[in-house]
Structure formats: C-alpha cells, structure tokens
C-alpha cells in the first residue's frame, strides 16, 4: 500500500511539504497502477480525472488556517449512492444511469468543508442490495487482494479503493453489514456508526430505519478521523441525533484496562470455521493482555436476525424505490400509456436482485400479510434490540465477534439468494438494534483477510474506537498474517 495516513497527509499538506495537486495526482497514478478501471478491478463507477486535477485547489483557502482542517488534502472515495454535485449518482443501477444530483449529501459537504477531496464514485451492489458487489449494472468489482474473489458488498468499490491503496479513507453505507463485511473481506477497517449518528440526507435510501453512512479506513485512525468529520446532528435528517460528537481519534490515548468485552456465544457456533475462531481467540487474548476482562454472554434472538432483516429491509425498500418511476429523473422506457411506461421503466431499470426484493417487500406489506410478516418482524426486532440492551446494562462495554462466517468468496460462487443473505449473519443484528459496530483485520486464513467485529452500545463509538486502537496496536503485523 502506498497511501499516506490521514494524519500524515494533513500535516504535510499544511506545512506545504505535499501539495494537494500531488496527492490527487498520486492517487490517480495509483488508480492506473492497480488497474482500478472497468477492465481491471472495476472500483469506480465514475472518476473525472480532469475535474479532480482542476479542483484539487479547492481546499487552497484552508491552507492558511493556523490549525490544519481535520481532513486537509485527503482524497476520500464516495460510494455511488451518496449524492454529489459533479459526479453522477447511479446507485449501481441502470435506472439512474448518468443521473447527476442537483444537490449534495450532508456527509459530502462536511468532507469538503474539512478540506477533503471527494475522489470519484465507487461501485456497489445495485441500490446497496447485495453482499458481493457482483450485482451492479456496471459489472462486478474485484478484490484487490485476490482479484478472482469478491470484495464483499454492497460497498465493495469503496472498500477496494482503500485496500488498493488509492485513498486512505472512503464513504460506504450500511443497511445490514455493507461496510463491515467488505472491510473484513478486503483487510481494512470499516465502521457503522449508531443509527442517527451520521446524517442520511443525500444517502439514497434502501431501508430507512437501518441505513447509515459508514466509513472505511486503511487504519483505525483513518476511520476515526473521517467518522469525526461526518458525524453529528443535521437539521435535514429527522432521525439524526442531537448529541455532541467526541474527537474519536483521541480514543487512541485511552486504555481499555478494566473494561469488559462480551463474547456472545451465538456468534461462535459449532459450525464456525475453526481457523476464524482461532483468529478471534487470539484477539481475545490480546485484549486480555491489555487489561480487559473477557466475559461470556448470550444474545438469544440472534438467529432471528436474518429473517427479520430480510422482511424489514425489503419492505422499506419497496416503498423507497417507488420514486424511480420515469417521471421526474432517471431512465424512462416508453410503454402502453402511463401504466406501460411505469412497468417498462421499472422492469428495464432494476436488476434481478432489486426486483426480487421489491417483490418480497411489497408482498409482506400487502393486505392480509402485514401482521404475519412485517409487524411480526418489527416485534422480533424489538426483542433483538432488547438482547443488546440487557447485555450492555449488565456491565459489558463492548462485544467482540467475527465479522463474517467466511473470508472473501470467489466471484460467481454464490448463486442462491438466501445463501448470499447469510453472509450478513453476524452484522445485520447491529443494524436492527441501531448500535454501532466496526470491523478490523485480525489475521488471515489461506492468505485472505479475516475481520473481527466490535459492537458497542448506542452512541458508544468512542469506547469502541479505544478497543479498536488497542487491538490494532496489540496485533501489529499479526493482523496481516
């Protein structure tokens, strides 16, 4: 990897050792070097080189500040479901091909205001529905560490951009694990904040009660610094929380001595790959060595997370995706009258997985099925949330689990939709409960990265980052072997 860390870039840009032009040029060279283009890793859906070179100066005025802005001169890749003014926002879908948003997402504005350079739009599973970035209208993204394998998904392009050393940080989005799972598959850090911690304004909705913008970093520090910039109350998002945002990178200074790490047994089933279990055990050992107490705990409703998730998320998605109707923007395909236009546009514009989820979602909300499916799922979701509340109320500070049951799988290996859904088995619970969680590399199996996951109570990102910093330091090179 050849990127500088955010803290180095920021300092060097501020002292004039590195120009923003050089940083952008360096990242663009790296794009070529790793073959990130369409016929290579296929990381970006859009990347306007000329625009980036011309606009590298945009953060010029920030250079004169006495204190460097937190992301001064840092290129940050953006998932293609986050609205940007210049680059198109397609959500990996044909229905939004070429669509340029006339407004900007709050998170992108905050990045720019902190001196970052939004660096291209990254590939993703269409409308964030998928766990492999194979379901994009613009072709699959490849894992930079093993190009015959998937980078995970749905934020696979952003994860790959960081893993390939193009940018030190990237924005993704989470609905059921779409940042943590690709972070695990690509050997980087991925954070899903508490629901309400980061504004969703400008994030194209998949399942509104689960969606959060997340960040990828090459290191815990890169992720912490980027999260600090995008977090906080936004009056344009009614679900964003009005709470102060700590400086997450200061968590590195805090010890985890005396804190309690829960080991939920449901995340370590008999069937778990013993090599993944071994990597997790090694991590627990490191945490113990750092003074943390490891405690066995139970989250009894965990196994219901996937059924709940695959009812709630498609239900909300079926409604959120109704606006793609060919009337105001995006694709329009003519048909017989208005009704024909609707049907031709939507069946022509949506891929197979999106169609399947709209169908499921519409079905579970329709008359006669609502109580049995949607209402029931939301009730069980309350039980799942209660599991976390009980464990955290019992004195546990964070939970530690594997992020995924397997390492990155080969492209095309999973064709059964439900088998693909099971890829989210350890991650979807945090979205359902709204609690923050993150994945970081804890070693390799067959040369492929394995992710370990911390889960914290609502708005407990600060503590979560202390653990992540501590584990990253303790593992050192072991995280990569």
């Amino acid at each position: 990897m050849s990127t500088s860390s955010i803290s180095d870039l920021r300092a060097h840009t501020h002292t004039g050792t590195v120009g923003v032009h050089d940083t952008v040029a360096g990242a663009l060279e790296r794009v070529k070097a790793v073959k990130a283009g369409r016929d290579g890793l296929n990381i970006f859906v859009s990347l306007d080189e000329k625009h980036l070179r011309t606009h590298a100066d945009a953060c010029g005025p920030l250079l004169s500040h006495a204190e460097p802005s937190s992301l001064l001169g840092v290129p940050v890749a953006i998932k293609d479901n986050i609205a940007t003014l210049h680059h198109p926002t397609t959500c990996g879908s044909r229905i939004l091909e070429g669509y340029r948003s006339p407004y900007e997402a709050t998170v992108v504005r905050r990045l720019r205001e902190a001196g970052a350079v939004p660096f291209g739009k990254t590939n993703m599973d269409e409308f964030a529905m998928g766990s492999s970035t194979e379901h994009s209208a613009y072709g699959p993204t490849r894992n930079p560490l093993a190009p015959d394998r998937v980078p995970g998904g749905s934020s696979g392009g952003s994860a790959a951009a960081v893993a390939a050393g193009i940018v030190p940080a990237a924005l993704g989005s989470e609905t059921g694990g779409s940042v943590r799972q690709p972070a695990a598959f690509c050997g980087i850090v991925g954070v899903k904040p508490t629901y309400g911690r980061v504004s969703r304004f400008g994030l194209v909705a998949f399942a509104s009660s689960l969606d959060q913008v997340g960040v990828f970093g090459a290191t815990v520090d890169d992720a912490a610094r980027t999260m600090h910039v995008i977090a906080g109350r936004d009056p344009l998002d009614s679900t964003s929380a009005d709470l102060p945002v700590p400086e997450y990178h200061r968590a590195s200074e805090r010890s985890i001595r005396g804190l309690v790490v829960g080991r939920p047994k449901e995340y370590f089933p008999e069937s778990l790959d013993p090599r993944i279990r071994a990597r997790c055990d090694a991590s627990f050992e490191k945490l113990r060595e750092n003074g943390a107490e490891i405690r066995d705990v139970s989250l009894p409703h965990t196994e219901l997370a996937i059924p709940v998730y695959y009812i709630v998320a498609p239900a909300e998605a079926s409604s959120n995706l109704a606006r793609f109707d060919g009337v105001r923007y995006g694709l329009r395909v003519q048909g017989d009258g208005l009704r024909g236009m609707y049907e031709a546009t939507r069946s022509g514009g949506f891929g197979a997985e999106v169609t399947r989820r709209i169908m499921i979602g519409t079905y579970v909300l329709s008359a006669g099925y609502y109580d049995a499916y949607y209402r029931k799922a939301q009730q069980v979701r309350t039980l799942i949330t209660g599991d976390f509340a009980k464990v955290f109320a019992s004195g546990v500070d964070v939970l530690f689990t594997p992020t995924t049951p397997t390492p990155a799988f080969p492209i095309g290996a999973i064709s059964d939709p439900y088998e693909m859904y099971l890829s989210d088995i350890f991650t979807a619970t945090a979205n359902l409960a709204g609690v923050p969680a993150m994945s970081q590399p804890i070693g390799r199996v067959d040369g492929l990265p394995i992710g370990g996951q911390f889960i914290a109570p609502h708005f407990g990102e600060d503590t979560m980052f202390s653990f992540a910093y501590a584990l990253e330091r303790a593992l050192g090179a072991e995280a990569w072997s």
Binding site: A83, T89, R323, T362, L365
Partner: protein, 488 residues
Amino acid sequence: MTAPDVESLQRDWEMVVGLEVHVQLKTRTKAFCACSTEYGAPPNTNVCPVCLALPGALPVLNAQAVVLATRAALALGCTVHPQSVFARKNYFYPDLPKGYQISQFDRPLATGGKVEIGRHENGSPICVGVTRVHMEEDAGKSVHDRYPGATAIDLNRAGVPLIEIVSEPDMRSAREAGAYLRVLKQILEYMRVSDVSMEEGSLRVDANVSARRRGETKLGTKTEVKNMNSFSGVERALEMEYVRQVGVLVQGGRVEQQTMLWDGAAGQVRPSRTKEGSHDYRYFPEPDLPPLLLEQEWIDRVCKELPELPAARRARFASEYSLGEYDVEVLTADPQLADYYESVARASNDPKASANWVMGEVQAQLKASGQDIAAFRVRPHDLAELLNLVRDGVVSHTAAKQIFSRMVATGDTPAQIAEREGLVQVNDDSQLAGWLDEVVAEMPKEAERFRNGERKLQGVLVGAVMKKSKGRADPRRLNQLLAERFGT
C-alpha cells in the same frame, strides 16, 4: 329527479352520510420542506429535492403545521394524542412524487370530537361525531387537457400540509351534510388554520353514503362519492346518489360498494372506473420520521390560546353588545367581519350604530366592490371616528354617508374629509339665525302660519334652512332656535 322525490323516499328509507374533509393548512412553507405554499406560481417553481422526491432527500416536519392541526382538532372537540405516528400510504400516480403519501394511519393526531350543526324542533342539539383528525401532505396537480397525448404535472402543491377530518356516519340528510360542512368551514375560519375555499381547492369533500329501511339499525352498503366542488354540489350529489341507491334497493337489488363521481354540469353521479378491492396502500410507519411527541402541557396551552369559537362569539355579541339574533348571525358569519365590527364598536363605544353601519354601508361597499374585509380601505378606527362625529353633532347623518364614500375612495380620515369638503355641521347660533332670518323673509306666509300653530310647517322651514346651508345646519340646534323664535 327533484327534491320532492327525495322527501317522499325519506319516509321509508333513511339516508346515512359520513364525510371526509381535506383541508389545506395555512402555512408559509410546505409540510416537510421549506418550499413556499404560494398559490398560482409558475409550474414547478416551488419545488426542492424533498418535494421532487429526488434520491436521498428526507422530510422534516413544519412546526406550524402541527400547531394549526392541533388547533383545528381541539376546536372540533377532539382529544389530541401525546404520541402520533406518521405512516406511508403507498400508491403510484404521477403527481405523487415519492410513490407514497406521508399520512397518519393507526395512530392519528387526534380522535373523538363532536360538532353541533343545529337544533331539532324540540331544541335538542343535532351533533355530528368527528372520528379523527390526522395530518398528511397534498399531492401535485395533473393537467389532462393542456397537451395532446400527454398529462402535465405541476408539483408546486406537492407537500402542502393538509388535515383530513373524518366524521362519523351521523348525518341523515343532504341538508345535514351541508350544515355540517358550513359549521366546519366556519370553525376552521375562526381558528385561522385554512382559507377553506372549495373553489381554490383548500377544502375538499368526499362523501360516504348509504341507505337503509327506516327502523333498521345495521348500516347499508355504502358508496364513496367524489368530485364535488361546492357545498351545494355535495348536497345535490348526495341526493342523487341516495335516490339511485334506493332505486336499487326498492327493486330488491344490492348496492355495490364502489366509488361514484359527481358530474356537476350534468347533475349526475356515475361509477368511477376504479375497481374496488384494488386499493392496497400497504401502510407502514414512516421510518424517516420518528413518532410525533406532544407534551400534554403544550396541548393544554394551545387549547387555552384557541381563538374564540363561533358559538362563543355569538353568545358574547348578544350579551356584550345587546344585539339581536339576526345582527349576531350576520356579524359573526365571517370572523374577519366580526373582528372588524368589534373594533368599530369598541372604538366608538356605540355597538348599535356600529352594527348598523357595518351591516349597512360597509357590507354594501364590500359587495359592490367584491373586496375582502381584510383589504377594505376604511379601517375600523376611522369608521368609529365618523360615528363619533355624527354622535357629537359635528356632521349630519346625511353628510356622514357622503364622507364614508369619500373614505372608501381616498382612505383619508373623516375629519379631514369633513373639513375639506365643508361638511362640518354648523351649530353656531348667529350663523343659523342669519339663515333663519333669510328664510322667514323669503317665506313670510309660511312663517306666520307656523307661528299660529300649524306645526307641520316646521319641516318646510327647516328644509329651507338646510338647503340654504347646503346640508350643514345642525337640525337639532335649528329646531331649538325655531322654537325660541316662534314661542312654540
């Protein structure tokens, strides 16, 4: 069919009506975004990422919409709930940008109200229950006849805040339905929550109507009647649909549950092409908006600060200003007229004269010019001043009418006009006596006859003085002088 048919049918068949009324709330900006609600702007100019439903945009609720909705609900006697939940009503239509309408479903803002719409012959009140009041957003406008082969969509109205007021099926005739609507409209006007104009679409009515044999307690199958654009249209549509249903029932047929459309021009109802049962709105709680929590204290405060209701104002006008029933009805029909009257009455301290002027000159002027009282040039304190000038004998009643029309035209104060136009009454004895001398000299016979007790000639003499003075002579003082001079 005509009204007598309806009356004779009603002897055997009872009409049952419930109404769903949509009312646009009078806010500056839309319900969930900061776009202007201004009416009549060029198409698609009051739009933003939120009301265009651009990918990624999110709704944020307008506080004023909550205040107005709460005020309306309380005025209709409803219980406003400390927690209510927004829900999505999903359906496709090109003027519904998101593919769903943000509404409220199983947890509405308010429930359980009641409205008195009149009195039975025995004096007991006729009441209509208000099932619920909930908040929602308006759709845009579809224009079907502007371009060949195309429907044109204007989203300026999309997202304007509405309340839906659902009544119980408590109305038993078209007249009761009309009375309910008029009372409802008046209450909402008094609460200043809406323009409540059916013509401009800020009040819309859908009716549920069924018929049943007298004595039957179960409700018959209802139909929904839509597309009425006036209160009288609602009454006529209900009668036509009732007659149609009874026609079916009398022949032993069954009323089909369906939507009927009122064609005002043809005076007919006809079935809409909509298939019943194809409605499946897939309501679910709106995940972009957490539940709306209202503190009981806040609700109580809104209740305490409610503008005076029409019934209360009528009672107060009768007692405070000693006005008759007719005057009260006229003066309280419209809250702005009532405000106007009340300002005049207070400033002039003469409620009776104020009533006469407001119901007379003022309303005649408004009617002639088609003006709104809010834009009326003669402000209440100026009218009160004019009344005081009359009371104090500074100007005559005749002159006052002249002054009033000048006030309407110029907006000047009555004193200015009276001065400028020489309409100030003359009560200076020497001036009056001078005129009187001239009249006696010009009409010696009449003066003599008056002196000899022919009292009817007083009018002739006074009239002559008035003419000489161009109407400025103070008739009261003049009469006194006349009496002194002729010893009558």
